[in-house]
């Protein structure tokens, strides 16, 4: 288990993270999402022990992460901006990783590298952006660590490669209990594969919940009232976070569970009423709007 407690980090005047308490459970995929500049990368760097926290703590299986080789043996970190040695080939990098991680699986690396058709004699500097990302992920997975931390996981990968990387994670998770912690901008992608999601905004953690709980806590409704007056009743009885109107049709986001909604609407006469599943994207927008981040307002004046 990776746990951060009241984690705070500033760079000069800029407060990058404040008071983050997040838990990464073993055997689950945890995803980090956040607005631009929310502190996702900083959080990952703190967990990886690259940065020293100003306040609070990061522990990896009860061990402090910063400057601690024992904790660092348990995870591997793939940063947003990849780093390879000058003039290195894939083979050189694999040998370097193998010298750092005692359980490095060179056989697996060769097998995967061939499956992903990366040439090991070619200099990495001649690789494309996506190929570099593939190589970095393969190098990391073959370190056979318990945790893998990935920043901007799918950045630069084409759809086929994205699927291949996800399959690779699925294999490693069922095979040896790998626990990935990933950040991504593609909400749809995280939604499909994560068990647990942490939502960061302006250095704070807005939410950290299992995706199922998150989705049952917020609902999207579509309805047409027989009598518009009933809208007031609904707004009074339910926590309506957003209400958009298209003609007679109301599309509402409410903070409630299905039963509550069914109960309120059982007393109301509607022409049409439907509960729709909420996507992570809508959740993200609803939650960050609540925290004062409405991009549309910035654009549409």
């Amino acid at each position: 288990m990776i746990a951060t407690k009241n984690l705070t980090k500033s760079f000069g005047q800029t407060k990058a993270l404040s008071d983050i308490s997040l838990t990464v459970n073993d055997g689950e995929i945890t995803g980090l999402v956040g607005t631009n500049g929310a502190g996702k990368s900083t959080l990952l760097r703190l967990i990886a022990g690259v940065l020293k926290p100003d306040k609070g703590s990061v522990t990896v299986d009860e061990q402090p992460a910063y400057d601690n080789p024992v904790a660092k043996r348990e995870f591997v970190f793939v940063p947003d901006e990849l780093y390879f040695f000058n003039n290195a080939t894939a083979k050189d990098m694999a040998l370097y990783y193998a010298s750092m991680y005692e359980n490095y699986d060179m056989e697996k690396f060769v097998r995967l590298k061939n499956a992903f058709s990366l040439r090991s004699t070619q200099r990495i500097s001649t690789y494309s952006k996506g190929m570099k990302r593939q190589l970095a992920i393969l190098l990391a997975v073959c370190a056979n660590t318990k945790y893998i931390l990935l920043d901007e996981t799918f950045d630069g990968l084409d759809p086929v490669m994205r699927a291949a990387v996800k399959s690779l994670f699925a294999d490693e998770m069922s095979e040896r209990g790998l626990t990935p912690l990933i950040s991504s901008h593609s909400l749809r992608e995280l939604e499909d594969i994560c068990d647990h999601v942490g939502l960061l905004h302006k250095g704070g953690l807005l939410l950290s919940e299992s995706l199922d709980d998150m989705k049952t806590g917020l609902l999207k409704l579509q309805c047409v009232f027989s009598d518009e007056k009933d809208l007031a009743t609904v707004k009074q009885k339910l926590d309506v976070m957003a209400d958009e109107r298209q003609g007679m049709l109301h599309v509402m986001t409410v903070k409630a569970d299905r039963q509550q909604v069914a109960e309120v609407f059982s007393h109301i006469d509607t022409v049409f009423f439907e509960i729709l599943p909420l996507t992570l994207e809508e959740l993200f927008i609803a939650e960050t709007e609540g925290a004062g981040y409405d991009v549309r307002k910035l654009i549409i004046q």
Binding site: G27, I29, K166, A170, D171, I193, C194, P277
Partner: protein
């Protein structure tokens, strides 16, 4: 056959359960036939093994499959399922008839 529709608003685990419910009801998967292992299916669908496990737990709860410790999951021989599905379809049909009669379309007129 195993492709997930990423545009589909249903959660992935529901897509998996629906897919296997239909395969089992249609007889495409016979009683005692092994289900793909969680690992294999997760890799095939490029999804989280926990999601597949969740789908299997749901299928087991509904009586579509049974699990044998250490050996995996198998299709259960369960004649009640067809009856359950028949009831479910009938309920849906009744709802359609009711909707039709609410706006003044008779049963005969609808079936024409």
């Amino acid at each position: 056959m195993n492709y997930l529709d990423l545009q589909d608003p249903r959660p992935i685990y529901e897509q998996i359960t629906d897919m296997y419910r239909m395969l089992i009801l249609k007889g495409a998967m016979k009683p005692d036939e092994p289900m793909p292992s969680v690992r294999k299916l997760a890799m095939e669908l490029s999804t989280n093994p926990n999601t597949v496990q969740k789908a299997y737990t749901e299928l087991e709860r509904e009586g579509y499959i049974y699990s044998v410790k250490g050996r995996g999951n198998f299709v259960r021989d369960n004649p009640d399922l067809r009856e359950k599905k028949r009831k479910e379809l009938k309920d849906r049909l009744d709802a359609i008839f009711k909707e039709a009669s609410d706006i003044g379309i008779s049963r005969e007129e609808l079936l024409k």
